[in-house]
């Protein structure tokens, strides 16, 4: 006992209170600064809901219409605020319904804590009513998970859950709590987790690696940066901007990184990857030094790996050691938090401008503009394009809106064309590509950032995967703006069928319901636009609305998204048509 530190002593001397496990859970949430959570009740989690009822003036529980919606709302909340999102569900089907959102949060490094009820511990393993092994099921898609069977474990496990979810490379944590542990009374005391001996969330930045990186960058003739979400998660936007500007490096982003640097920045050269911009994809295979910052070389970014940036020296700034050399072999790997690494890198860099090199990007942009962008944003044909809708939203939001996109053609168009002035403004399902993500994620985003305009851009297909969350929007009065770009098709799949399966449109045509009537059925103001002349005023009406608003835009049915790196092709073989 003599080995106790002062802090540990203070903790042990704190007054304890005798409360139930379920009350402890709510008290832990409060101690972690949680003011809103998303969930759905049921038998095995009822004691916790009973406490949420008692604490409703301190913590707001949002009843989603499906547990998947709860996870996506928690993700939207986390992504826009940088805080941990919380979702709750009952055992069995409630818990399994969380899995898609958990997997999405895992692959997109989103900090969420999911709490599930479980059958009483004496029934574990007996195939009891609504028993599923949710810890087993969620293991491959969680950063950490744990089952609690005794109330006394609650404070320590909950503290660890929040610490693990948000530290280092963030991710989802699931805590499963048996019903008997919820009822059990114990002496409650809470202490935040400050470290776990087997877990080193932020590797130290090595000066020698920084020096080697700076050396490569200072000697580069044609350097190119590709940044990812690691910049946003590390809150390193300003540091990245300083590096880019000082060294004069053309900089591209992955779909998860967009909005870290304003769209209009002269060195922002657009998106890399399958539907990214022409210039950064083509010139990936021409740059001499490729500087990857907080990104993980997803196959949608690299295309054919054997032909990805082979001519370039590769520098990788990354917090997760397991990402180094995973897909692309690096010449210099700088481990550590992006903010710290970039702060230390800046003074080592020579001021530079790569005018001629930058001009190459501009020239290729002009080609892309004439072949693709012009027709997307300012179409002369009769049918409406998805691009012109985005263009109208840009004009009216002046780049201030947060855009929450679903998955498909509309997502690629939204990410390509949305203009952003602020970080944490693009919320999309990047790694998992989860249709149904946007509507519930927009709810969480708007609740975390009530002062911001939150616009969800959704396809007619994905919308119908979580359409029931209109009920949540109506009940909770979250003023999200919902835009459905309706092409009566599972458009992205149809595009592939057209290009690679000889136009055999197997199960991609949708006979859609009256979306406006459905929105109105949930008492959400709604409008449908079918003509170009109606678009600007409809977007204006939506943006002016103080309440939630639903806008359906009927767009051209068989438009394709270009440029495109066909799967299996090299990034420099990107197609413009």
């Amino acid at each position: 006992m003599e080995t106790l530190t002062v802090k540990q002593k203070q903790y042990l001397e704190q007054p304890k209170e005798r409360i139930s496990g379920s009350e402890a859970i709510v008290r832990c949430l409060l101690a972690e600064g949680v003011d809103v959570l998303y969930g759905y009740p049921g038998g095995a989690i009822m004691p916790v809901y009973d406490e949420l009822y008692k604490y409703q003036d301190k913590i707001h529980h949002v009843l989603t219409r499906h547990e998947q919606g709860a996870t996506h709302s928690a993700q939207g909340y986390a992504r826009i605020s940088g805080k941990v999102g919380v979702a709750m569900a009952t055992s069995g089907p409630g818990a399994t319904n969380l899995i898609t959102g958990i997997a999405d949060a895992q692959i997109d490094s989103t900090p969420i804590v999911c709490i599930t009820g479980q059958v009483p511990s004496h029934l574990l393993g007996s195939d009891a009513f609504q028993e599923t092994d949710i810890v087993g099921i969620s293991t491959p898609v969680t950063k950490w998970n744990h089952q609690i069977t005794k109330a006394s474990e609650i404070p320590e496990v909950m503290a660890k859950a929040f610490y693990i979810a948000k530290s280092g490379r963030p991710g989802p944590v699931l805590i499963d709590i048996t019903k008997d542990a919820q009822f059990e009374e114990f002496d409650f005391q809470y202490k935040k987790c400050e470290g776990i001996r087997s877990y080193n969330p932020v590797p130290k930045v090595e000066d020698s690696k920084l020096a080697a990186a700076a050396d490569l960058i200072n000697n580069a003739k044609k350097p190119m940066i590709v940044w990812g979400q690691g910049v946003i998660l590390g809150k390193a936007e300003d540091e990245l901007k300083a590096v880019i500007e000082k060294a004069g490096i053309p900089s591209a982003w992955t779909i998860m990184g967009v909005s870290a640097i304003p769209t209009s920045h002269p060195l922002n050269i657009g998106m890399v990857g399958m539907h990214g911009n022409y210039a950064p994809n083509v010139l990936t295979n021409e740059c001499d030094v490729l500087i990857a910052i907080g990104m993980r070389f997803d196959d949608r970014v690299t295309g054919k790996l054997d032909e990805y940036a082979k001519q370039a020296k590769v520098i990788h700034f990354e917090i997760d050691p397991a990402e180094i050399d995973k897909n692309v072999k690096t010449d210099v790997a700088v481990l550590g938090n992006s903010k710290e690494s970039l702060t230390k890198l800046l003074p080592l860099l020579n001021a530079n401008s790569h005018t001629e090199w930058l001009q190459k990007f501009k020239d290729l942009y002009t080609i892309e503009f004439n072949k693709v962008i012009k027709n997307d944003l300012h179409p002369t044909k009769e049918g409406l394009t998805m691009g012109e809708v985005l263009n109208e939203i840009n004009t009216q939001s002046k780049g201030e809106a947060a855009i929450v996109s679903d998955v498909g053609q509309h997502q690629m168009i939204a990410c390509r064309y949305a203009e952003f002035n602020k970080s944490k403004s693009n919320i999309t399902s990047g790694g998992l590509g989860t249709m149904g993500f946007a509507l519930p994620a927009a709810i969480g985003a708007k609740m975390a950032a009530p002062d911001r305009e939150v616009v969800a851009i959704i396809g007619d297909g994905g919308y119908q995967m979580t359409i029931q969350e209109l009920g949540t929007i109506f009940q909770t009065k979250v003023p999200v703006k919902i835009v459905v770009l309706n092409n009566d098709f599972l458009g992205m799949v149809r595009q592939w069928q057209q290009l690679f399966f000889d136009k055999r449109y197997a199960s991609t045509e949708m006979t859609n319901p009256d979306f406006v009537a459905i929105a109105k059925g949930y008492y959400v103001d709604a409008k449908r636009v079918t003509k170009r002349e109606e678009l600007a005023s409809a977007v204006e009406e939506m943006m002016q609305s103080k309440d939630a608003y639903f806008l359906e835009v009927c767009v051209e049915k068989e438009d394709n998204v270009f440029p495109m790196v066909p799967s299996g092709a090299s990034v420099s073989d990107i197609r413009l048509e």
Binding site: V135, G136, T139, P140, K143, W144, N145, H146, Q147, I164, G195, I196, R197, S198, Y199, D320, P321, A322, E323, I324, D325, K326
Partner: protein, 176 residues
């Protein structure tokens, strides 16, 4: 050179946690890698579990998998080693009819030469135990097969490394 498939012994130091086996085996399963053998035991450090996993793959793949293993919150540290870098053993047991021990002179010679140990003998059967390299165990198995084996079982590999693995220092650093 990294493309050659080799045998590696993976040593993983972990906190003792119910779900960890699931997490670690899933890392191999996802990548279609067969675990040749796996052993979990106490380690030289109190309260720290040590796993010994035997796998075949390229060194490239091995490095990536070590990264994925170490990424697990409850893993303290993971290492991989080639056979040359470790001292390793397996152990096995044979259950054999007792009559044979007395009727077949040859069996006694086999036992002596192989350095196997008789664990127990009763009227019906006797049990033989042997630790050593896989090849020695396989040889013994072949030799005894001729006489009939009632039961055979072999353990996973356990190994210590020639190099130091500085877990104690790592844990001490955390406490400070």
């Amino acid at each position: 050179m990294d493309k050659k498939i080799k045998q590696f012994t993976v040593s993983v130091y972990t906190e003792n946690n119910i779900g960890l086996l699931n997490r670690i085996s899933a890392i191999f399963q996802r990548r279609h890698i067969n675990i040749e053998s796996i052993n979990s035991s106490a380690s030289e450090i109190e309260g720290v579990t040590r796993w010994t996993i035997l796998v075949n793959m390229t060194e490239d793949q091995m490095k990536k998998i070590i990264g994925q293993i170490e990424k697990q919150v409850e893993v303290i540290k993971a290492y991989y080693h080639t056979d040359e870098e470790t001292i390793y053993q397996e152990s096995c047991m044979f259950k054999i009819k007792s009559d044979l021990l007395f009727d077949e002179r040859q069996i006694q010679n086999i036992i002596k030469e192989s350095n196997a140990r008789i664990v127990t003998v009763n009227k019906e059967f006797f049990v033989l135990e042997k630790s050593g390299r896989r090849s020695e165990i396989e040889l013994l198995h072949r030799e005894l097969s001729a006489f009939g084996i009632m039961q055979f079982v072999r353990s996973g590999r356990i190994a210590v490394t020639k190099d130091e693995m500085k877990i104690t220092e790592m844990l001490a650093a955390f406490n400070n």
